[in-house]
Amino acid sequence: MGSSQSMSEEVRELVGKTGFSSDQIEQLHRRFKQLSGNQPTIRKENFNNIPDLELNPIRSKIIRAFFDNRNLRKAPSGLADEINFEDFLTIMSYFRPIETNVGEEQLEHCRKEKLRFLFHMYDSDSDGRITLEEYRNVVEELLSGNPHIEKESARSIADGAMMEAASVCVGQMQPDQVYEGITFDDFLKIWQGIDIETKMHVRFLNMETIALCH
């Protein structure tokens, strides 16, 4: 493809920022244009055109995450109306496999970033806490795929999960102590000891290109 020669300054910059290879960027750019209908930015409506996404029970949350300023690293809260290609790449880079040759610290950082993405998805009001309401909301959506499980059950599952989280994070609580919600630190605690390396990766390209960038 000769991409190395034709790699423009812009692409090189993106490579540095997001860690994607230029081939991957090219491919993602193609997809981006396809989604946006050759516009420079993507709006929420564009995501509705993806037919495969329709079956996803937490579709709205995921789409929201694409426009979340926290994930875009732009602002501590709020939603963007539209995202450009760079933002798109930023979001996608959350799902990039962790390189094998990075140090322990880098690995930890990557892990945290990935978890933060998930955390932001739960924490819809950007207050740094997943409150019970927010948690219930997510669980309800998660279970919405099964029409036979009622909201009540979803709620009680969320409650159970919250209690579990509280017991993991705070331990034995005093009677007058109140657990307000899962903070990000608590969130990390919950994830302790669980490999997410295998869990939050997407293969972005077909095999040849992966082989190329090695």
């Binding site: 996608m92 009540e152 599952i157 579990e164 509280a166 993991v168 034995q172 109140v178 390396e197 997407v202």
Partner: protein, 908 residues
């Protein structure tokens, strides 16, 4: 070493008894089944020749029972040996069981040889393939972590297919090479084809051996599934190669034509895909059959085994890969079968499967050891043996490294060097190779004896030497171990979210990758397969998150009961609940009461439609009573049925205790939410002598947990109950129904209805939601019954009794989260409360004060500990109450929220 000697001594000590048996048992092992037939024939012949000399008092009929007897004895010996091994933890922690069993086999074989002067017992290929192997494979297939398996399917298939092909070719060719180089004795008459044939059987990693060793070495799950999956799936390749070469050898290399090679390659696909297809078809049948076993629960476990075995035999019959068939059958059916069959059947399947597999494994290793003693089949050639050992190790390592290098180009999580070492070293050979080599035809393969000897050495070497050293190696290399943490609800939820996110991202990127297809498959499964293969009741609640939640609840509940119901685990969940299946309407409290026909019903009060704060106190008092009282042990009719298992009284008793405990937990959860502490240890009330039936009860709070614990047994046993002690039911009724006539024993009769005494309105009462204009919102209770007890989910649903205690939402998040500490407070108070409670329960004049909800009690707010007149305790409660009051004192917002919950509860 010394340990092993020590063990041997012990073994020998154990033997004398067996020695007598052995000479007699000798005829067995060759052909257990034909042997049986012959024995019967002999007996018959003997009888016809000699006229019976009168009625024999005792007849010795060894021949008639010989074959099954011997089989039983062998399994018994193996099991006893297992027990002996595990007496010493030190030995088993160092030496894998398979090694010990092989050694035991060697010893036994030696004894047999010494006694009978000829080796008799052998691992017969027929027995092995038809009886011993299937249980092991079924066990591993059924309990295969399917998610992990399919996540790594690419790697597993590569190693299984490419790896096995590579191993067999290179090993065969290299052996032929050293023969050509003259390193083997000239008596080893074998051509290239013979060596390739030998290579094909010796190169396959053996599932039995791998499982036996790797189960004791806890490597991380990815590594385990790759090695283990490979050992299962390579069967197809082995079978094909073996058969192809074997027929080539039999045809003679001259007669092999090009078309035969093509056929050979084609047969690889036929055998593997055919085997898998057979397995899947049977999995489908199995799942479908279990869908209809609702009324014949008792045969459910049997069906699983029969159909899986049928899959194995069918594949074997069609000369397809039988191992693959059973594996696929196990993997494929599990999800649906588990959903369909009852809880008990699940346990039965699990244990039977494990038992059979473990038996088979034990017998296999023991027979392997015994077979090795038979020197008549041996022909030793040092060059061949050493060459084979060297090459299988070398080429295994080489193959793993090469394949891993290729695979790592595609894997998201590459396999590192340490993994590769373990994988190379974990390539154990076992009984499959041995059985295959025994099956060779000596007239066609003149070097068979040499191959047998070599195979035995290889198997022994890999199982004993590698099995012994792999544990230290894993430790030394610091291989990532599997960390056995219990699944948590959060984790499950997050993982689901991840799955969805990943699928979504793949959709967005437009790349149809693994997650995309997995997502598609799940959709398909949900839409069609599950609908077809699962019972409707099972299908409805089928959800992984729900499953985890359910399991956690059960586990928690069990641990709670195990701890005697006094200590609550803080890690656990405290809200066991079930999805509500039935609307509450049919199962109102009173209906249930009528149905259950319990002897006496003491109506504590008839509550008017006007709700007042008093209700709450009353209800609390009611919970206190109903929660704290032990349900009497009832007598049950002895029942004996072949087709249905009835629980014995002990089990019921346990269940009752369990229910009691669960209920109290629920209450404690609820009450902490409501700032009321409940006594924990009221169970001891039983001693107080009163037998009162805790009944479905009535919750005065929309946000409360409904905690009736009424299960199907209640109604089942109503008749028996009547002849038994008359129970007393405390009911707070929501209706104005006519006071029913009851057979109230003794002084209970005069219990006045407490509503006569008008309670003074309390602060809390004023703040009650239904006081503020919503007075006649129909019901603020869901009087559903709850089945908290995981007796049998299935029956529970089907009988429409179990349902959700609607864990209604607390007023606000904070309040809900107080639930996280329902565990903290009430424990010490139980003892204090017990006495006053006992007083309450005893129908003595004094207790009337307790029953009649005096104004003072009402004033005490929700703290029914007033009844204990324990001032310090009440003070203790104060801080608890504060937040709630605060919450209620902001009527504007609070009420709105209340209202919502209110309605929801009403809808239920």
């Amino acid at each position: 070493m010394s340990q092993r000697k020590d063990w041997r001594k012990r073994e020998k000590k154990e033997h004398p008894g067996l020695l007598y048996m052995l000479p007699a048992t000798l005829p067995l092992l060759g052909m257990p089944l034909p042997g049986a037939g012959a024995g019967v024939a002999d007996g018959a012949a003997g009888e016809s020749v000699l006229p019976p000399a009168g009625l024999a008092l005792l007849r010795w009929q060894w021949h008639e029972v010989e074959a099954p007897y011997l089989v039983a004895v062998w399994i018994l010996v193996a099991s006893l040996a297992k027990i002996v091994f595990h007496l010493s933890r030190k030995v088993t922690s160092v030496v894998p069981e398979s090694c010990l069993l092989i050694l035991l086999g060697l010893v036994l074989g030696g004894i047999v040889l010494a006694v009978a002067k000829k080796a008799e017992y052998q691992l017969e290929p027929g027995t092995f393939f038809l009886f011993l192997l299937p249980p092991i494979v079924l066990d591993s297939g059924y309990f295969m972590p399917s998610r992990l398996f399919f996540d790594n399917l690419g790697a597993i298939l590569t190693y299984a297919v490419v790896g096995t092909l590579w191993n067999s070719f290179t090993t065969g060719a290299a052996l032929w090479g050293i023969q050509q180089a003259g390193l083997m004795a000239p008596t080893v008459q074998a051509g290239l084809l013979d060596f390739l044939l030998f290579g094909s059987l010796i190169s396959a990693v053996d599932p039995v051996a791998v499982l036996a060793v790797f189960e004791e070495v806890h490597v991380n799950e990815t590594l385990f599934i790759i090695v283990f999956g490979e050992s299962l799936l390579n069967d197809a390749v082995t079978v094909v190669l073996y058969k192809v070469y074997n027929s080539f050898v039999e045809m003679g290399s001259v007669n092999v034509q090009a078309i035969d090679y093509v056929k050979g390659v084609a047969s690889l696909f036929v055998v593997s895909l055919g085997g898998a297809a057979v397995g899947l078809v049977f999995a489908f049948l199995l799942a479908l059959t279990t869908r209809f076993t609702k009324r014949v629960r008792i045969i459910e476990p049997l069906l699983v085994f029969l159909l899986a075995y049928a899959a194995y035999l069918t594949a074997e019959m069609a000369s397809l890969s039988a191992i693959l068939a059973v594996t696929m059958c196990g993997v494929g059916c599990k999800k649906y079968v588990e959903a369909n069959i009852s809880h008990k059947s699940r346990t039965a399947v699990k244990y039977t499967m494990k038992t059979l597999a473990s038996c088979a494994e034990t017998v296999i290793f023991m027979l392997l050891g015994i077979s090795a003693v038979d020197s008549s089949k041996w022909a030793w050639d040092t060059g061949l043996v050493l060459g084979t050992l060297f090459f299988i190790l070398l080429f295994r390592a080489l193959g793993v490294v090469l394949q891993t290098w290729v695979l790592n180009q595609f894997r998201l999580v590459p396999l590192d060097k340490i993994d590769q070492v373990v994988m190379s070293y974990g390539g154990l050979r076992g009984a499959v190779a041995f059985a295959l080599v025994i099956l060779l035809d000596k007239t066609k393969v003149p070097a068979k004896d040499y191959f047998v000897a070599t195979t035995i050495v290889v198997v022994f070497f890999t199982v004993i030497v590698q099995g012994l050293t792999i544990k230290p190696l894993v430790k030394w290399l610091k291989v990532k171990r599997s960390d056995h943490h219990k699944p948590t609800l959060n984790q499950e939820l997050h993982e689901h979210t991840f799955d969805h996110i990943l699928a979504a991202v793949e959709d967005v990127v437009g790349h149809h990758g693994y997650h995309y297809w997995r997502d598609r498959w799940e959709q398909f499964d949900k839409k069609y397969l599950s609908q077809l293969l699962m019972r409707r009741s099972a299908y409805r609640i089928r959800d992984q998150i729900w499953d985890v939640y359910y399991k956690l609840n059960i586990r928690d509940a069990i641990s709670f009961v195990d701890q005697g119901g006094h200590v609550l685990s803080s890690a656990g969940l405290t809200l066991p609940s079930m999805p509500s299946r039935n609307s509450a309407a049919e199962t109102s409290v009173t209906n249930l009461l009528r149905e259950s026909g319990s002897g006496a019903c003491l109506d504590l009060q008839v509550i008017d439609t006007v709700r007042s704060g008093k209700d709450r106190e009353d209800a609390i008092m009611h919970h206190l009573l109903s929660g704290g009282l032990y349900k009497p042990r009832r007598r049950y009719k002895a029942s004996c049925s072949r087709h249905f298992i009835s629980e014995d009284a002990q089990a019921r008793q346990d269940k009752e205790v369990f229910q009691q405990n669960m209920k109290r937990r629920l209450e404690s959860f609820k009450s902490t939410k409501h700032n009321v502490c409940l006594s924990k240890s009221k169970l001891r009330l039983r001693k107080a002598g009163r037998k009162v039936i805790p009944s479905p009860c009535f919750c005065s709070r929309p946000a409360a947990v409904i905690l009736a614990v009424e299960s199907e047994e209640e109604s089942d046993s109503s008749e028996t109950e009547k002849e038994d002690d008359e129970g007393i039911v405390f009911v707070a009724r929501a209706t104005n129904e006519v006071f029913r006539e009851h057979k109230v024993p003794g002084s209970m009769e005069v219990c006045p209805s407490p509503c006569i005494i008008p309670p003074s309105p309390t602060c809390a009462e004023k703040e009650l939601p239904w006081k503020s204009g919503q007075g006649d919102l129909a019901v603020y209770v869901s009087s559903e019954t709850t089945k908290i007890v995981p007796v049998d989910m299935q029956t529970g649903w089907n009988q429409s009794i179990s349902s959700l205690e609607s864990l209604a939402s607390p007023p606000c998040a904070q309040a809900a989260l107080r639930a996280a500490h329902p565990l903290a407070c009430p424990l010490p108070r139980g003892d204090e409360l017990r006495d006053p409670l006992a007083a309450l329960v005893t129908p003595s004049p004094e207790s009337h004060a307790g029953f009649t909800f005096t104004p003072s009690l009402a004033k005490a707010g929700r703290s029914r500990s007033e009844s204990s007149a324990d001032a310090p305790e009440q003070q203790e409660l104060q801080p608890l109450m504060a937040p709630e009051d605060r919450g209620c004192l902001s009527p504007g917002t609070a009420n709105a929220r209340w209202l919502i919950q209110f309605n929801r509860a009403g809808r239920l």
